[in-house]
Symmetry: C2
Subunit: 216 residues, 2 copies
DNA sequence: ATTTTAATTAAACAACTGTTTAGTTAGCGT
DNA sequence: ACGCTAACTAAACAGTTGTTTAATTAAAAT
């Protein structure tokens, strides 16, 4: 069994040449980027190696092969999304406020975590790892549906189709980031990923959704 | 110089074994599907060949190589989207009605033309062919922005950010189709691509957008 | 009918890419 | 300080994939 190497105990953890955990993590995060851009068959192990500053052999050393690495990436992402969203308590807050906090945290997640949405999209396009069937984000989706139903029953939201509307909410939040590389040419001056613009976008989304959903 | 073979003049154009135009078109449409799913580097010429029922050699015979074929696909798609949207006259109609006809025709286009949106997304993810810079869809986008500005000036629409809102409209319309392979697991009973559900989705989108945008 | 040309294919080729191997080195434990 | 083990590398290997070649066949032209 492998003994777990620790960070350099003295001085600080400046640069440490050999550390299994670290390089493994480096490969994984490089792989996320590569797979997010190019998908399973389009990704190149060479690129993943370069991105993480190791040789191709390391990938097989730690992850057996490309496909296994891809699965590892998928699992990693499921973990990350779960821990990001389990904190939110929708049940307590009033529906309008709950909607706002969901949208805010989802947009924040997408902006901090670009690769996630992109990889999710690759999965949608190619559907190889059956990411769509994985638990985790499905529950998140269902909680949006529930929230909408609750709001409708309370008479706060208009009578929309909860399922389709939940999809559309997801779409509004994701599209801006996932399609960014194409959208950025539209108004080159406006830096779409700057924190100010993201702030404006968040407001725009909330504005549109709240006005679109509220009764009366 | 190649003489252009015509369709069989007599009887009908049932099945014709050898016809450059037809096989070229077959390859092109097979390539659209393959590239839309797997992107440039992920696509396999072998698959494109199989999908179009010819040998790999034909691809190079007609399109030189994979990259050139990819460019041809991109050009083809620009043509198609242009001819689909140049017909719409937004200027004349009242803004609310114009918005509705844009959304309707955009959703219809996406539903009839699944690969387009998917390929556009691949471009967004990998940004290799600079599809985002290509003319055509940018103009379409600008016309949505213009429409929103007009509606705001007339006091029909609320004072939203026209640029961001245009992106969000696009997002709502696209996401449903582009992410379909992941969304379809959410409610397996509901056939998302059936004409009824698409109809419902169109109504849901229009409902959300109109309520979200209208003043008063 | 025959010739000619373009469309098409099968198989070889070449380039690329994922995986393995054998060997090297850093760092920990003693 | 020394040796052992795990982290790591370079290069070879094997499998895949894009492209080319040479031969074949269908259809148009004469």
């Amino acid at each position: 069994m492998p003994k777990t190497p620790r960070f350099t105990p003295k001085h600080n953890e400046e640069k440490q040449s050999r550390n299994a955990e670290v390089t493994k993590a480096n490969i994984l995060s490089a792989a996320i980027e590569e797979f997010a851009q190019y998908g399973l068959s389009g990704a190149r192990t060479e690129n993943i190696a370069k991105r993480s500053g190791v040789t191709k052999a390391m990938i097989c050393y730690y992850f057996k092969n490309k496909k296994t690495l891809y699965q590892a990436v998928l699992n990693q992402l499921v973990l990350e999304i779960n821990e990001s969203f389990e904190a939110i308590d929708i049940e307590q807050q009033p529906v309008e406020q709950a909607l706002e906090s969901i949208v805010r945290s989802y947009i924040k997640f997408e902006s901090k975590n670009r690769w996630h949405g992109m990889l999710w999209f690759q999965e949608a396009l190619q559907n190889q790892g059956r990411y769509g069937e994985q638990t985790g984000w499905q529950e998140g989706f269902q909680s949006i549906v529930k929230l909408l139903e609750k709001g409708i029953n309370e008479g706060v939201f208009r009578k929309v189709d909860p399922f389709l509307t939940a999809i559309n909410i997801l779409g509004i939040c994701s599209f801006y980031f996932d399609a960014h590389e194409n959208l950025k040419y539209l108004e080159p001056d406006r830096e779409l990923l700057s924190s100010e613009t993201i702030e404006q976008q968040t407001d725009a989304v909330l504005d549109l959704l709240v006005s679109g959903l509220m009764a009366s």
